[in-house]
């Protein structure tokens, strides 16, 4: 057993209101520089939709993530030799046109235009070349199902459904959507990392955050292609790849990452998970349908004395173990088993989990308003959002796994409805609990964690103990009156 700690998260999709506050918080903090305007380390997609970059889930095109080659895993991008052979021209690099060309408007022309017969207009100009351009796409171009005939219809998940399922899904009175906020998953078996020819990408041992060393990055762009979630981006002005850093400077001082902190729907949970690093590869080798279970299995119980002892031996600090015991992520993922990884079939073992949304699945249109269906127990089979679609997103196509989650979520709803509205009988509630395999106490705990928590319960930042770590390596006294450790250069290229 080789125990490591991972700062991981849960996004509760039933709570996301699609406000993009998270994206803006991230943008203001990290990606408001030249060359990274187009990057959204945090983005919120509408599903069904093609997402950002367009059809990122289609690995036939982008070739991200891992695939099984006999009894070992290989990047879908190719073996090491093939990857180096393609180093002069990345065969699977999405170009700016697959994201969008960043633009602004010549607002000045609105006020400075000479008097004339026409209204002055502000023309859109490219933020790259500075020339007038035709806007073809933008961030969240398909937000809230806009252009659904093009975008939602060509969602790779939708394309996998049968013709009937699609027709059912796209019937006007049934069409439904959900928001999918995405950041880097800080995977255990990160494909971006494995694909980096320069060895610039690394996982931090203490907290599992995946970072790109900007001084070592040579801009080969293989990480962009290798990451199946398209969560590393190429900075066209600096020639370096950049990605979500999970706001590690904020975490190190005990603050939540900016997107977590600003989340209006309070959908984001953060906490430590302990896992067995020796079993990463074995877990990633399972068949598609077993990947979720395998990933759950390598996550360890932070209350198990054996685990604690081994963790102590592996050098994980007491305070971190204590934080792991308070981790809401552990509850969602392992204890209640209602949070699932996004696209486990990419085999990177993503450490960001999603509670799938109940409302779009079991609501119906009634006299012009949306409401929950009354018949809880049969709805899953002909759910408004086909279960195959959800299984394609969260369980590698395993519909049983996703059904189990939904039965739990429905049990929570039924029990709470009996308590608050009181129009259901206890026998109905008991039946729901039995189907969902949850106890009444667990339901109350899930309910509280979902609806009534404070930020300190939702976001349990482990003490990062950076000061001790730094002191172990260098003497702070010697660096007195300096601005941080070492010199600082701006990320600018001169040649």
């Amino acid at each position: 057993m080789n125990i490591r700690a991972q700062v991981s998260s849960v996004f509760h999709l039933d709570k996301c209101i699609g406000c993009h506050t998270c994206s803006i918080a991230c943008k203001n903090l990290w990606t408001d520089r030249k060359g990274v305007e187009y990057m959204w380390w945090n983005n919120v997609e509408t599903k069904p939709g093609t997402g950002y970059p367009t059809q990122w889930e289609n690995q036939e095109k982008y070739r991200g993530g891992w695939e099984k080659k006999g009894d070992r895993l290989q990047l879908r991008l190719g073996g090491r030799g093939g990857l180096l052979g393609n180093i002069f021209h990345n065969p699977r690099l999405p170009t700016m046109d697959d994201y969008y060309e960043p633009f602004t408007y010549r607002y000045g022309e609105l006020t400075s235009a000479p008097a004339g017969n026409d209204q002055p207009t502000a023309r859109p100009v490219s933020m790259i070349s500075g020339r007038p351009m035709k806007i073809e796409a933008g961030p969240n171009w398909d937000d809230d199902l806009s252009g659904s005939g093009i975008y939602a219809a060509n969602d790779p998940g939708v394309l996998q459904l049968s013709r009937e399922q699609r027709a059912q899904m796209f019937a006007v009175e049934r069409l439904v959507m959900l928001y999918l906020p995405r950041i880097c998953n800080h995977c255990l078996n990160a494909a971006c990392l494995a694909g980096c020819p320069s060895g610039a990408i690394y996982k931090r041992g203490e907290d599992g955050i995946v970072l790109i060393n900007q001084d070592k990055c040579r801009g080969w762009r293989m990480c962009v292609s290798a990451c199946p979630y398209k969560k590393t981006y190429y900075g066209w002005a600096t020639g370096k790849s950049e990605k979500c850093v999970l706001c590690y400077p904020r975490l190190e001082v005990g603050e939540a990452p900016a997107c977590f902190h600003s989340c209006v729907g309070r959908i984001r949970y953060l906490g430590v998970l302990l896992y067995d690093a020796d079993r990463i590869e074995a877990a990633a080798m399972q068949d598609d349908k077993d990947l979720v279970a395998a990933q759950r299995q390598i996550i360890l119980d932070p209350f198990d004395p054996q685990v604690l002892a081994a963790a102590g031996k592996a050098g994980i600090a007491e305070q971190v173990l204590e934080a792991a015991q308070r981790s809401p992520v552990y509850l969602f993922v392992k204890k209640w088993q209602i949070a699932l990884p996004l696209h486990p079939e990419f085999r990177t073992l993503p450490m960001l989990f999603y509670v799938p949304p109940l409302l779009p699945v079991v609501s119906e249109e009634h006299l012009g308003t949306q409401r929950l269906v009354d018949d809880y127990f049969t709805t899953l089979e002909n759910a408004r959002l086909p279960l195959q679609y959800l299984a394609g997103l969260f369980t590698g196509g395993n519909t049983e796994e996703i059904k189990a989650v939904y039965r739990k979520l429905m049990a929570v709803r039924i029990q709470r409805r009996r308590i608050t509205v009181g129009d259901l009988s206890e026998s109905e509630v008991a039946k729901a609990r039995e189907l969902g395999e949850v106890s009444a106490e667990q339901i109350e705990a899930i309910f509280r964690m979902t609806a009534l928590t404070s930020i300190r319960q939702r976001i349990v930042v482990p003490p990062m103990l950076r000061e001790q770590a730094i002191e172990a390596g260098m003497d702070p006294e010697r660096h007195k009156q300096e601005m941080g450790f070492g010199s600082r250069r701006s990320p600018k290229r001169r040649w």
């Binding site: 990857l83 494995a194 001084d215 002005a237 020639g239 690093a277």
Partner: protein, 221 residues
């Protein structure tokens, strides 16, 4: 006098610039030790430029290097007329491809507005020098046959005399102008190495073949 400066002095200046410039850039600005890729802004045309360019120029450079380092073996290799001819034909073909692909790269930089915004003056200097180098190379190979053989008895001894700090300028002094241009421009390119994107030559990521697929870094271990 001119010959002495061009073939006896300038090479040393170029090597010094390359050496010290390279060390300076490595030490002071490791962030920029790469060639800034523009594939993200334009990918299609780039393929027809960069891929043939790199593969052909690597092979051509390799031939120059082998003839310099192992002149006897090279001479034996080309001792049969058929081998000599095959090598020359291959060389000319590779050279022509290099010229065309360099033209593609130059045109791409000139006409694509996205790419022009990420192009610097030194990029243009470099591209022009590279074009001049491959163009003169092909011209020499076609008109002054067989370069792969006389190189051994002119350029190789001259370059070795430079290494031995006893420059024998006479070898180059008697050469036609185009050969002189080719030789001087080669050292100009060398001098340009640390001051341009050419520096990416030193960042060939061969270590990738051997490293473990996952990299974990600890503060304290």
């Amino acid at each position: 006098m001119t010959d002495l400066i061009l073939f006896g002095v300038f090479p040393y200046i170029a090597v010094t610039l390359a050496g010290f410039g390279g060390i300076y850039r490595y030490a002071s600005d490791r962030y920029s030790l790469s060639s800034q890729s523009s594939q993200f802004l334009e990918s299609r045309m780039l393929f027809w430029g960069t891929v043939p360019w790199h593969f052909t120029i690597i092979l051509i450079l390799l031939a120059h290097l082998l003839a310099l380092l192992f002149p006897t073996a090279w001479g034996t290799l080309l001792g049969r007329p058929l081998r000599l001819y095959l090598l020359e034909i291959s060389g000319v073909s590779l050279g022509l491809v290099a010229v065309v692909s360099m033209l593609v790269l130059i045109v791409r930089r000139a006409i694509n507005q996205r790419i022009t915004t990420v192009t610097t003056v030194i990029d243009w200097v470099l591209l022009a020098a590279l074009l001049l180098q491959v163009a003169t190379g092909v011209y020499i190979a076609v008109t002054l046959r067989w370069g792969s053989l006389w190189y051994l008895h002119t350029a190789t001894p001259w370059l070795w005399s430079l290494v031995k700090l006893d420059p024998q300028v006479s070898y180059m002094a008697v050469m036609p102008a185009v050969v002189k241009v080719h030789a001087v421009n080669a050292f100009f390119l060398l001098a340009l190495l640390p001051f341009s994107r050419l520096i990416h030559m030193i960042s060939v990521p061969l270590a990738y073949m051997g490293r473990s697929p996952q990299v974990v870094v600890w503060y304290r271990r």
